[in-house]
Amino acid sequence: MKISKFKLALYGKYLFLIIISFLSIFPLFWMFVSATNASVDVLAGTLLPGVQLKENLTKLLANTNLLRALWNSFKYAAAATILSLFVSSLAGYGFEIYHDKGKDILMNILLLSMMVPFAVIMVPLYMMFGNANLLNSTAGFVLPTISTAFLIFLFRQSSRNFPREIIEAARLEGLTEFGIFFRMYIPVMKSTYAAAAVITFMNAWNNYLWPLIIMQKPEAQTMPLLISNLTSGYVIDYGVLMLAVAISVIPTILIFLALQKNFAEGIVGSAK
């Protein structure tokens, strides 16, 4: 009797997960299906794969510089991810491990920085980069995305469960404070790094307003701007559009798949 109750609960859990997964995947499935259909069929809501994939791809490659946009997006997202993970995890670690009243207050102040909509600070920021002669430069693109209060806060909060014994032991072994960070903290916290990497990459990849104004040369066009162009004509080819958006989400999915095992391995597994 007890076993069947347990089984029942387990089946309930599976059912719940299956329903949620279905709801989650469905629009993505539709997007990939639509990429293989003609515009008229996409609008009719076809759920069956079509035969237009090659034609859509030909049109997409003819009308846009897809590879350049993919490469640009990848380049900026990768640079932003690596730099911001490094800078933000350093700060988050500093805020938590060496916390005192002053640092706690500073953390709270930093949090305020994300509470103003970007549209409002866009013009002053643009003016600043214009005066510094950094318009249309990679530095101009990446600089404001390196340090975000969100990531710092994420690392600070995650560090709370970081075992202090590890730090004490490492200090006794003569490791420097920075040595502890690099040799002990980073490996142990790899699940947090994985989550931060996925999220930061995705945000940088989808970033729209800032690249739009800071990178005005077509050579620097990113995927979101390419997609914006595809939706701007008098006649929108929905098959081509869906193919472009489908291609644009693949990198984020790949990054997630590559890093997702870190969301399953416990702290013991990673400390080894």
């Binding site: 609008l43 643009y126 914006s228 004509g233």
Partner: protein, 425 residues
């Protein structure tokens, strides 16, 4: 003293030499950057114009950078507000409904084309009205937004009508016949996006009125023409002659799928009708219904459209103006080239007489739609969209939603007027 003179002399020579140098450079290679959107339409036209101009002035290269309209507006506003106009291109394509707003907000940002050689009389009057601010011309009109009533004649035939029954009619006649078609075939004649007042504004312009009066004051709450238009709109919906959909893709799909037997919009909507090849031969176009009770109301109007502008910050504004003059404002050949493959209809009136514009179109049962549309364009009443056009558009869109949901017309329009007045301070 002698030394000073010598130094001055030297400086003079230097300045002279440098100015000679820069003059020589500007006679050399010039690159004009253009921002516009839509590869199959505006960009294509611009590239053809560039080819044409190469024969006239081989030193000029046109570099087209594809940029969506909303993106152009965002970059424009940001750069001009931040005093970084140098990053902007030489020529931009501007939506007509935003042109006066931008010119009046950033008075020094756009190059005044009034005294260039461009002959503005060759364009439809209403387009010139939309690109003129304080007596100065700021744009070369390009794409045509003349309103058309596109209909499926196979559906009309089923109900015993022809396209002629819907030509030169009033809205009252349209409603009578539309109700009949609906009864006999089950199909509505129109679809609109709920909350978007485009159709209302098409009707307004056909009566020569707008949401602002000539003095630029809001004209919503006490606008009798608008009230009559709203009544027609509500009647169209109530009688099932017009269905409301949620967004642009559902709007396109409503006639592509054959759920709806027609549409009224700017003539550029043709581009979204013709991809549905199974309906080839079934479509015709005609002019739009007029308002019977309003003096001066005609069967012609406009929806959308855009114009080329030269930026004041351009290093070669005269060359840019000359380029536009010799191509978009002076070359029938250009319009003949771009029409067949793109369906890019212009408001350059002389082009309407060309042979290409008189070609029968099989998708429309052999109708010569392009010359017809050019005729329509010449008869569109002039209105001034005004500086606060977007504010008014949103407010009226909200009002029509409330009215359809049952709110009193006067109250809803009063609220809309107050909202726009509030935003105009």
């Amino acid at each position: 003293m002698k030394k000073k003179l010598a130094v001055l002399f030297l400086i003079n020579i230097l300045i002279f030499a440098f100015s000679g140098l820069t003059a020589a450079q500007s006679g050399d290679q010039v690159t004009l950057t253009v921002w516009c959107w839509d590869p199959s339409f505006n960009i294509y036209a611009m590239e053809e114009a560039a080819k044409l101009y190469r024969d006239i002035n081989p030193d000029v290269t046109i570099k087209v950078e594809e940029t969506a309209w909303e993106d152009i507006q965002t970059r424009l506003t940001t750069a001009l507000s931040a005093n970084q106009a140098a990053t902007l291109p030489d020529i931009i394509l501007m939506q007509d409904n935003a042109l006066i707003k931008n010119v009046s907000t950033f008075p020094d940002a756009f190059y005044d084309l009034t005294n260039s050689a461009i002959d503005f009389s060759k364009f439809a009057d209403y387009k010139i009205a939309l690109t003129t601010h304080n007596g100065k011309n700021y744009g070369v009109p390009f794409d045509n937004g003349a309103a058309i009533n596109a209909m499926r004649v196979d559906v009309l035939e089923e109900a015993g009508y022809t396209i002629d029954d819907f030509t030169d009619i009033t809205w009252q006649e349209f409603i009578e016949k539309g109700a009949d078609v609906r009864k006999k075939t089950g199909k509505p004649l129109l679809s609109v996006i709920a909350g978007q007042p485009d159709l209302l504004m098409v009707m307004l312009q056909s009566a020569g009125t707008w949401l602002f009066n000539d003095a630029g004051e809001v004209n919503i709450a006490n606008n009798d023409v608008l009230k009559e238009i709203v009544d027609i709109y509500v009647e169209l919906v109530d009688k099932g002659i017009m269905v409301q959909v949620n967004d642009w893709d559902q709007y396109i799909s409503s006639f592509n799928s054959g759920t709806v037997a027609g549409t009224i919009n700017g003539c550029w909507i043709i581009g979204s009708i013709v991809p549905q090849k199974s309906q080839a031969g079934d479509w015709r176009i005609t002019n739009i219904p007029r308002l019977a009770s309003v003096d001066g109301s005609v069967n012609y109007s406009n929806q959308g459209g855009s114009s080329w502008m030269v930026m004041a910050n351009s290093k070669h504004p005269q060359i840019a103006a000359d380029f536009l003059n010799k191509t978009f404002a002076g070359s029938i050949e250009l319009y003949e080239t771009i029409l067949p493959s793109s369906g890019a209809l212009a408001t350059y009136l002389p082009a309407g007489d060309s042979e290409v514009y008189n070609m029968p179109q099989p998708f429309f049962g052999g109708q010569k739609i392009y010359s017809e549309i050019t005729d329509y364009a010449a008869q569109v009443p002039q209105v001034n969209y005004g500086v606060y056009n977007y504010e008014a558009r949103d407010a009226v869109g909200a009002a029509i939603t409330k009215i359809i949901n049952g709110q009193d017309v006067d109250k809803a329009l009063q609220e809309a007027e107050e909202t726009v007045k509030f935003l105009m301070w």
